[in-house]
Structure formats: structure tokens, C-alpha cells
Symmetry: C2
Subunit: 200 residues, 2 copies
């Protein structure tokens, strides 16, 4: 497949792009162990967006698998997970936000995925919308048998990726998760790369 556009997401930032139905997006963990907080809106209905809580219902799972549709808050698939070289992601954890760093670390001005995503979405007129809960690509929350879990380092190695296929015209945004005080990103924040592929 032909790469139509390549977008680097620098550490502590977010980026967005538009996909037509049939187009694919490859999100690459350049250096490994970097979580990407990912959101997706229906371009033609800004009240419809990929919604992890509805995905957990429609998939009867808290595990994301190749072939899974990414369901919206209107219970419709907007994209599918077409390929995945890692196999471990999260879709029950929130984006880090102002309150996370303020309440848990006493920091007033730490970069955070919520704000990164909001800025990236503003490029498509979605900056005033509430930021949906993200799919946390490459995030590795390890559950124990009681339902408690530990934030652990991602299993992704340099160059690992996921490939997502658009089923509708969608605006997608991704943030390099800005958490540098937990093992979530291997204790440091690095770049991700998005490649937009032509449809077949």
C-alpha cells in the first residue's frame, strides 16, 4: 500500500488527520514502549465518536483483538483493528489530564494527553467537544485475578505498530502519552509516527 501522508507526533504532543472510508492508518511506536492515546470522530456527525465504554459492551471484552471493530457511542463501527504487532493495549483507562498531574503529583503545568488531543482535534473544528475516552494503544495494564491491576511498561519494541482501517469518513487524533513518572511509557516520553495509507 502507498503511504499518502506521514505525520510524526513529537513527545508530549498530539496530531490529527482525516481518513476516507477504506483508508488505513498505521501508528508506529518508533522507539518502543510509547503509549498513544487515540480518539476518532465521525467527520459527518461530530456527536458520534469511538467510545471505549460502548466498545467493551459490543465486544464483550476488555481486550482489543485484531478484527475488532472500534464501536462508537451510537454502537456503530467507525474503524477496525486490521493488524497489530503487539497484542496488548488498553481501553479502560482515562487520558492523563490536568487533574491527574495536579491531584496525584502536585504539578500545575504538566503536559497531558487530554489537552494534547483537544489541541489536535481543534484543527478539524472539534476543539470545543468533550475529548472522548481514548483507546490507549500499546498501554500495558496487567490485571490480576481479583480485578486489580498494575501500570506496567508496554510490550512494544521499536517499530511495532497497529494498523486501523476507516469504515466511515473519520477525524482521528493521537497523543504521545505524556506520563513520565510511571512505567506507562517506560519512564520517558518518545515519538510516535502515523502513516496514512491509500485505500485499496
Amino acid at each position: 500500500m502507498k503511504i499518502k501522508e506521514e505525520i510524526t507526533i513529537p513527545p508530549y504532543e498530539g496530531r490529527s488527520t482525516l481518513l476516507q472510508p477504506g483508508e488505513e492508518l498505521v501508528i508506529i511506536d518508533v522507539d518502543g514502549k510509547q503509549v498513544g492515546d487515540f480518539v476518532c470522530f465521525n467527520k459527518n456527525d461530530s456527536n458520534e465518536f469511538v467510545s471505549p465504554v460502548h466498545m467493551r459492551a459490543s465486544l464483550s471484552s476488555i481486550r482489543l483483538k485484531v478484527g475488532d471493530p472500534l464501536y462508537s457511542n451510537k454502537r456503530r463501527p467507525l474503524m477496525t483493528l486490521a493488524e497489530d504487532t503487539v497484542g496488548k493495549h488498553d481501553f479502560f483507562f482515562p487520558a492523563c489530564d490536568y487533574y491527574r498531574y495536579k491531584v496525584d503529583y502536585g504539578l500545575e503545568d504538566h503536559p497531558n494527553c487530554h489537552d494534547n488531543l483537544q489541541k489536535a482535534l481543534a484543527a478539524y473544528g472539534l476543539g470545543e467537544k468533550p475529548v472522548p475516552d481514548p483507546i490507549n494503544l500499546f498501554m500495558n495494564n496487567v490485571l490480576d485475578e481479583t480485578g486489580d491491576y498494575k501500570l506496567s511498561e508496554p510490550l512494544s519494541k521499536p517499530g511495532d505498530y497497529v494498523r486501523l482501517k476507516a469504515l466511515e469518513e473519520v477525524v482521528v487524533a493521537c497523543s504521545t502519552c505524556s506520563q513520565d513518572m510511571e512505567p506507562v511509557n517506560g519512564w520517558k516520553v518518545t515519538s510516535l509516527k502515523m502513516q496514512k495509507m491509500a485505500s485499496n
Copy 2:
């Protein structure tokens, strides 16, 4: 403790009430096996509400335990789970809504928790706010070791209850989960009862 107010939530409906800091709310599963979709707003800041996705982060768990604070989207505890005679609840599943019955069952007019909660919240001027994701009291999603799960009948017997303590002035709403085509409520929808207790 003295009961200040007793509210029956009929099948397929929602009810709301106001609690002062220190007051407690007992939610009773009258006939057993009935899920209650529960939401809570800060009365003095309608942009703050109990948020399951943030609770899962702050609690490092997808299991609700006695003593757990119910955290808000601003990562602050608005209530705590003070007592629980069942021990199995859900806080990763969405409220059933119009789209659930339309998409999955082809039904246009099935009662649903989203709308029940919205109507109940309107009594406190919160009817225009997006309905937050609920805590699904008594809901029994049984996870397997891979992260898939099955909707199962609640473990709650007639008279089982949870007791929640308000830490702030809060508006709470609860809906008798209106799902009658799955084992979620033991295949039928029955009443719940809310008792508002005086503070100590």
C-alpha cells in the same frame, strides 16, 4: 441511623435525590438480581460527576470494594462505598440506551437506563448534561482470564444492598436497569429502593 426519605424506583424508571455531606444512601435490591445504574453529580459544580473511567485509574482496579471512594472526572472523591452485602458490581459497562436496543434488537422504543437517568436528573436541573457513565450496582460481568466476559445474573438476593456515604453535596440518580432480554437482571426488571439516611 434514621431514614429521612424512602424512594421506590419502579421497574424501567429512574429516580434522583439530593444528599448533604455526611448523609448516606442505601440502595436495596428488593427482589434480588436487579441492577441499578447509578450516577452522581457535585451539586455545586455540574461539570463534576462520578466517573468510572477515572475511578478505574484512581483505584487501580476494575473491582469495587468497601471503602473505595467514588472518584469524579476531577479525580476527587464525591462519595464512598461504606457497606456492601453483595461484593460484585460493575463499573466498566455503559448504560443501556436507545442505540443498544435499536442496533442489537431492532427495537425503537424500549425503555433504557440512559433516558431513565436523564429524566431523573432533570428534576435537579441536570437534564441537559450528558449522562455520565454509570456504576452498575449488582451487575455481574464474569471475566475470563483472556479479558472476555459474560453478562451473568447478579449475585444479589432479595434485600441485599449497598450503602454509599456522601462526602460533598451531591445529586444522585439511579435507574432500574431496563434490560429484560439478557441475564443481566435475571431476565426481568424489578424495583429498587433508595433510603436516605440522616448524617451521624
